[in-house]
Every structure is written in C-alpha cells, then in structure tokens.
Symmetry: C2
C-alpha cells in the first residue's frame, strides 16, 4: 500500500481541503495518508469526519511555510515546517510520495534538496497537464523548475515526461514534441534547434516542433521546453481562462434577461469550467527527484488533493523513478557508444 506524506498546511484552503482530500483518497484509492502539520489543528479538522476505519495518521510539524515565503527562506529557515517534515518522511522511507498544494517554489526547492535528484537526472522538471481539444491532455514540461536549460536537459525532460504520460494515461508510445515558433527564418532558437536534433536521434516517438497554438490541438502528448517558456505558457493559460470566465459571466448576465436562459447557460458554463479545471488532472509532478513529488495548485479543493494523491499512487506503483533511471542511463550509454 502506498503511503502518501501530505503537507496538510500547504494550500490556500489548508488544512480543511487537505484533510477532506486525505479522507477521499484513503477511502477511494486504497492509499495510506500521513497528514503532516500542526497536530492540534489537523486533528481538530480530522475529527469533523468519520475516519477511524481509514488508514490516516498525523505527524506533527511545528512550523508553516506561507505563500509569501521565498523558496530559499522556506528551505533554509523553516526546517520544522510541515513541508520539510513531510519531505523527510519520504527521504527516510516512512512514506512513498510527497503531496503538497503549498508554495510551488518552496516545494520544488525542498523536494530537490531534501530528497535529492535521481542519479541520471541533471535537473528535475515540473510537468503540467493541459486539457486539449481531443478531450485528452497534453503534458508540458518544464513549467518552472529551471531556466536557461541546456539541450541535453531538454532531452531528459522528454524522457521523463514520456514515462509520466505512459504511466498515467496508458498511451504506449506518446508523441513527443519541442515547443518552438513557426517562422522559417529562425525555426526556433539555438536551444530548440539543438534539443530537436538530439531528440531526433533518440528512441522516443519524437514528432518535431510544435507552436504555442498546437498545445490545445491534441496532436502531441508531451511537449518539452525550458522552464521559463513553460511557466509563461502555463500562467498565460491560467490567466486567460480566468479572464474569459469573467467576461463570459458578465456577458451572460447582461444579455440574458430570463431566469430560464441564465439557468440553461449556467449548466453549459459549469461544464465548460469543469473541463478547464486543471485540478482535475491531479497536480504537477516534479519529475527527477528521489521520491515521487506532486505539487497541487494553491487553490486545491478536496477533489484536487485526492487527484494529486491518485497520481502519486500511480507513479509509485508503476515505479516511475526506476524507469527514469533505467531509460536515462540507457540513453546515456547509447549516446556514448
């Protein structure tokens, strides 16, 4: 049974959303959840629910990292925080995976330095799933763990992302592409040209370069890029969904006079919202660290926490980190031979 160390103090709605998510995960997914946080607060929240028959326990942590803490401050000065304690549970083999909806930069830094990086991995990468027009998802990585990446690192992202996609979405040979731009004069930049050249030589199902607008087309499964680009892509998408949601609400309110019309439209709108809800896709794994780490959105609700736990469980059961080490060292051997 997978044991998940869940940072109970992480998200905007912590610890309530985390505790409810833990209950859903333990009940529906057959995982054990260790809630890590200020014990009295977490226990009080837990006692609001029926939980005695469920494999949930609490580990105390006396400090809390906030969304305003800088990653380096959180890492260096808050060693007793719920995040640090949860990461150490994974490091020490007392849990199999770390799940947190807290400060993304802090989670990345703590996971990277407390857990360490896998032997064949140069830099861990954060992978985010984008819903696409084919009603499937497209995974983009890195979305913010690194900047100024090297071509060989982009190739590693591709290997890790492909394994992640295969594991979670059951596609045998995911299509891999490099995020680039369309005009011939430049066909990308130095980084994308070199990364593409490497990927062409790899054993991956590399289909070439794609443009920003292809992210939502669903013609590729895994898109790799430097974390600066990926982060801009992710944040632009989140910002635009929020913006369009707001405009739409206004437009519907101002133009629909009948309650009937509003009610009918609301269903359509809610359906639309659900399909753009990134939390449905189970958070973003930080691939390449020694121990499965899933970072949820700060706004995670109980369902998002449950889904992040589901992804953590599936990655553990599929022994994703062993696969990453095997495939990367095989690729390194192939490159040398």
């Amino acid at each position: 049974m997978t044991t998940i160390a869940l940072d109970a103090m992480g998200g905007d709605h912590a610890p309530r959303a985390e505790v409810e998510g833990a209950i859903l995960a333990a009940r529906e997914l057959g995982v054990r959840v260790t809630l890590v946080g200020i014990e009295s607060v977490v226990r009080q929240e837990l006692n609001r629910h029926r939980h005695r028959s469920l494999p949930i326990d609490i580990v105390n942590a006396t400090d809390v990292i906030t969304m305003r803490d800088s990653p380096s401050h959180a890492f260096r000065r808050k060693k007793d925080s719920s995040l640090h304690v949860a990461a150490r549970l994974v490091r020490d083999g007392k849990a199999d995976a770390l799940v947190s909806a807290g400060n993304t930069g802090a989670v990345m830094t703590v996971a990277r330095f407390v857990l360490g990086t896998l032997a064949s991995v140069d830099r861990p990468a954060l992978a985010a799933a984008f819903p696409n027009m084919k009603e499937k998802v497209t995974v983009i990585l890195d979305v913010g763990a690194n900047v100024d990446s090297k071509p060989a690192q982009i190739e590693q992202f591709a290997v890790m992302g492909e394994i992640y996609y295969r594991t979670i979405w059951g596609v045998k040979r995911p299509r891999v592409a490099v995020l680039s731009i369309g005009e011939e004069e430049m066909k990308g930049n130095e980084l994308t040209r070199e990364a593409s050249a490497r990927l062409k030589q790899s054993s991956l199902n590399f289909v070439g370069n794609v443009e920003g607008r292809d992210v939502f087309r669903g013609d590729v499964d895994v898109i790799v890029c430097d974390g600066f680009i990926g982060n801009v892509a992710l944040k632009i998408s989140e910002g635009l969904v929020e913006h369009i949601g707001g405009m739409l609400k206004k437009a519907i309110k101002s133009s629909l006079t009948s309650q009937l019309g509003y009610a009918l439209s609301k269903r359509a709108f809610d359906d639309f919202r659900k399909r753009t809800d990134y939390s449905e896709y189970g958070g973003a794994p930080l691939l390449g660290v020694r121990g499965i780490t899933i970072i949820g959105h700060g706004r995670s609700n109980p369902n998002a926490i449950k889904n992040a736990s589901r992804v953590a469980n599936e990655l553990c059961r599929a022994r994703v980190n062993e696969k990453i080490e095997q495939e990367l060292s095989a690729a390194a051997v192939a490159a040398r031979s």
Copy 2:
C-alpha cells in the same frame, strides 16, 4: 492625407476582404488606399462596389506570396509579388504605410530588408495587443520578429512599445514591464534580469516584472520579452481562445434544449467572441522599420483590414518613427554620458 499600400493578395480571404476593407478605410478614415495585386482580379473585386468617389487606386503586381512560402523564398524569389511591390511603394515615398494580412514571416522579412531598419534600432519588433480585464489592451512585444534577443534589444522594444501605446491608446505614461516568471530562486533568467536592470535606469515608467497570468490583469500597458517567448504567449492565447470557443459551443448545444435558451446564450457568446477578437485591435505593427508596417491576422475580415489601416494612419500622423529615432538616440546618449 496618409496613403496606405495595401497588399491586396495577402490574407486568407484576399482579395475580397482586402478590397472591402480598403473601401471602409477610404470612406471612414479619410485615407488614400493603393491596392497592390493582380490588377484584373483586384479591379473585378473593386467593381463590385461603389468606389468612384473614393481615393482608391490599384497598382499591378504579377506574383503572389502564399502562406506556405518560406520567408526567405518569398523575399528572394518573389520580387514581383504584391507584398514586394507594396513595400517598394513605401520605400520610394509613394505610400506612407504598408498593410498586409499575408504570411507573417514573409511580411517581416520583406519589410525589414526592403524598407530597412531605423538608424537607432538594432532589430525591429512585432507588437501585439491583448484585450485585458480592465477592458483595455496590453501590448506585448516582441511576438516573433526575433529570437535570442540581447538585453539592450529588449530595452529598445520597451521604448518602441511605449511610443506605440502612447500614440494609439492616448495614455501619457504607459506602464512598462518585463515578462518573467515568479519564483524567487531564479526570478526570471539571465536575459530578464539584465533587461530589468537596464529598464530601471531608463526614463520609462518601468514597473518591474510580471508573470504570464498578469498579461490579462490590465495592471501594465506594455510588456517586453524576447520574440520566442512572446510568440509562444500569443499562439498559446490564440489556441486557447479557439479551444474554449469550441468547448463552449459544444457545451451550450448539448445542455440547452430550448431554442430560446440557445438564442439567449448566443448573444452572450457572440459578445464574448467579439471581445476576444484580436482583429478588432488593428493588427500588429512591426516597429523599428523605416516606414510604418502593420501585419494583420491571416484570417482578417474587412473590419480587421480597416482597423489595421486605422492604426497605420494614426502611427503615420503621430510621426512615430521620428519619435522612435529621437528617443532611442537620446537614450543612447544618456547611456554613454
């Protein structure tokens, strides 16, 4: 009176949309339009409309650049194309501005090399307007004219973008920001750190770095970045708007059973569409070339062509290129002193 050299063969709906757009522009904006294209085809289209009292003429061009032509092929091998002929009209002082909804890469290349670059400008930049939550626009540049830009070039983009914003949207001191990413550990990359340091020293109203999601918030007016980043931002946004539009249509169709509900929602949806219609904002100027150049979206309809002509006219009348040269050479002097 501004004379616009309009590439009549450029867009997906050429020459019909271009000719209708020319008529709207000549009638409503008080500009002269020179339609450049295969004369017989353009004249036939023009003759479908009442145009004799309008300042519209035709200049023949025997070749056409397609969306599939590479920019270098279009530039080197299609010197008799409507785009080349239109650009030469501007170069030779027979027109004041070039407007084309054709192949973006080709327009950028032809404009850059036929017209040349302004004396103080290192590299021209393409500026795109994004509608924001404050019901205003945020301009991002560069969105694809350059990759692997240097910090000094980003600073030039800021100066040019600021002048453009001031001119078209009448804001006295537009707020300028660098597009970056949020986590402290890296606070952007090498390029953004150096560009920000330069902008802090400049006389611009520089407000710091923004993240992808701030693009739509409306708290800044001009956002500068390398063309690779800007192009990904633009294409991601276009792709997502298309995707959401499609999902929404499906959701509305499947959940609304009454014709009334559909009709009521359709109004809201159309209103929403209109507000995300980038063509309303008049195309993207290629700033920094010797002669105003506006690139419309390939899908430009007559209204988009008219709006592109409007922006071209306003930039000409405001003598934007003189301002760019003045301000950039002043900035260069300041940097040296």
